[in-house]
Assembly symmetry: C2
């Protein structure tokens, strides 16, 4: 008999991918140029030239056995050192190479973080709206995931509910800022308050509550936005990062897990990681991709287009009457749908060849996600469709909050 749990997952459709697929089908019928696909968080700007230069350099300069040989379970030492140095320079941290564990993107980092600092059956708390994959990620680590409902006025942390939910079974809290799907960056004040609560409750419960910080969008912050480096404010933080978005390398699956140098049992946590890898078939990212980080880990693609797209799209949507909290980063926006059923709204949008994702899958019904990691010209051309869509609704409250 095949595995019943994984078989049950098949019936929970992967909505984002289904929408993306249907956009491909539509494109075949009405033409690529007539489909406005805002479904996938797939970077629209190329990797910086330094990436390909580094690949070619490594291939031409390194002897093949070194180039393609096994890397240690923790990752290639020089790549770990480069990541630590980059974090220290940019954020004034004090990571050493031994605090860095190289992973297959942020998903690989989270898979290790969850398993290292929890035991099966523990509770982990996160905040809506949140990335739809957190459910399978945490189920795979045998955790109970509790989701704090969204504060839909700000999409900052809903502290009142959080404090009520934070009981002694909680051994880890998971946050994602800049946030997918809202685009919101948690403020310094919010992170300080979170840190205070976790510190107090850790003492009260007699065990550390680890903060697992999922930060694949950390390098996409818009001008002037308050964007704290989260680990600064709470030492029991495990930072999970991916280069997918900052370097526009989503297919190459390269990221890391960084344990705060003063984290409780920091050394043990890192040492558990290769053991965890052995049980989940992880085995580390491609050597070549680790090696290029030695050259490029502080570089980014030209991310300015995302801010430009945000400005154009946000201003237009608000002027039409959509209610939306203005994003501080990422390439997502998460407006309120003009009807309670966001699926129905997204269906109407899809009928106009505009592909959006209902907020339900992010734990926040009544909203929809726009992934505006597309060429600016596509954003501009889609604006009349957004306008026409809203005009189909009489009852939508036009007052922007």
């Amino acid at each position: 008999m095949l595995n019943t749990y994984y078989a049950s997952m098949l019936s929970e459709k992967d909505i984002i991918f289904e929408i993306f697929q249907s956009s491909r089908e539509k494109a075949k019928i009405v033409g690529e140029e007539n489909v406005y696909d805002f479904s996938l968080g797939n970077p629209s700007v190329p990797a910086p030239a330094s990436v390909n230069a580094s690949i070619i350099d490594n291939v031409q300069m390194l002897e093949p056995l070194s180039l393609h040989g096994y890397s240690p379970g923790m990752g290639i030492p020089e790549a770990r050192a480069a990541v630590a140095e980059s974090l220290n320079q940019r954020y004034g941290c004090h990571y050493k190479p031994e605090h860095i564990f190289m992973t297959i993107g942020a998903a690989g980092a989270l898979a290790h973080a969850f398993r290292a600092v929890t035991n099966p059956g523990d509770e982990i708390i996160t905040f809506a709206p949140c990335f739809s994959e957190y459910k399978p990620y945490t189920v795979g680590a045998s955790l109970r995931l509790s989701i704090v409902p969204a504060d839909t006025d700000t999409f900052q942390i809903n502290f009142d509910v959080f404090e009520k939910m934070l009981g002694p079974a909680v051994t880890a809290v998971l946050i994602n800022s800049p946030n997918n799907p809202s685009g919101i960056v948690y403020s310094t004040a919010a992170i300080r308050r979170l840190s205070d609560i976790l510190t107090e409750k850790s003492q009260q419960f007699g065990h550390p509550i680890y903060l697992i910080s999922d930060e694949p969008y950390r390098d996409i912050i818009f001008d002037g936005v308050d964007s704290p480096y989260i680990a600064h404010y709470y030492k029991n933080t495990i930072t999970c990062y991916s280069f997918s978005k900052s370097l526009s390398l989503p297919g190459e699956r390269i990221g890391y897990l960084a344990v705060h140098p003063e984290c409780a049992q920091a050394r043990d946590i890192i040492n558990l990681c290769p053991q965890i890898s052995r049980t989940i078939g992880h085995n580390g990212p491609a050597s070549l991709m680790q090696r290029i980080l030695i050259d490029v880990c502080s570089d980014t693609a030209d991310l300015a287009v995302y801010e430009q797209n945000k400005r154009i799209l946000y201003d237009a949507l608000v002027s039409y009457g959509y209610q939306c909290v203005e994003p501080g980063g990422t390439f997502y926006m998460f407006p309120k749908a003009p009807e309670p059923d966001a699926y129905a709204f997204c269906k109407k949008a899809a009928d106009k060849n505009l592909m959006l994702v209902p907020g339900d899958i992010f734990g926040c019904p009544g909203h929809f996600r726009i992934a505006y990691c597309v060429p600016t010209e596509r954003v501009m051309k889609a604006l009349p469709i957004f306008k026409a869509l809203l005009e189909e609704y009489d009852q939508y409250d036009p007052i922007v909050n």
Copy 2:
């Protein structure tokens, strides 16, 4: 509290890596040229030139967003097609691209195979001697691993014991041929008999028993050795492959899982794989590495050196009086230790700067593994040490069986 299970793994030392590490320490003291490190299965021949040519080609020809973009959960379609076609041409199979799932090496493939065709608590059987990582691999999938003791005369399948152990709780059988650590290739007769038993027992138990075939050494077979393509003989076979050894790319972590086209629920098994990925942070091998397979998946490194090393080493060891079953492939050899305690023997070898791995970790005490994936000149220079080692023992039975 950190995870108690993974913490417990820390005390089960990774013997192979420890030996490798101690060889690095020794090299610092006595000089690299005086340490004979036969501990790691790390290919000693470079990747074929076609690999680097394909990397450079892809980097120079493909537009960066395609080159480094997300690949579908199943893998890049052209890579899946190339693998299927290669298998069909070389082994007369009938795989279609939809039977192939791209993975992070063989470890990634096994992680999916185990989880797809079993449920937690199921029993899985494998055969000693076997790869030491099968224990964490199967624990991670919540399976009970039973190991059939070795037939130390041949290292073929010990059918008498296997048939006694094969009860209704067994939902999968795991084999590895060519075998790590013995170097033995299971014969066509053995695979036929295994197939007959599994077919009969599947009917008797009322559920399919899947055969999970771990084949990273499939392309390293010595001249004239009978080497069946295992899936030919049993349709409920899931083949797990890595390009680490055949292409000398162990760091790049690229492999696949292939489901026999007539396997029970073949389509479901493949469809479960991306769901499984979501729970273990797998997310597929690097796009670039998948792309090169379109060019090189039927190529191999120049593997002839392994057979040459085997011939020299095997003939010498036997002439000194070691008991050893002659390998049919891989780059391993698994002689009997001249004392019952293989750890003690390997310690004596290490004192002579000869690094070997005790068979205990492969479920076969009293033997030791030699990984002769080293330059031939290193094999030759190590021979006197093997000879001197054996001469320290009076009681070792010099009769070769």
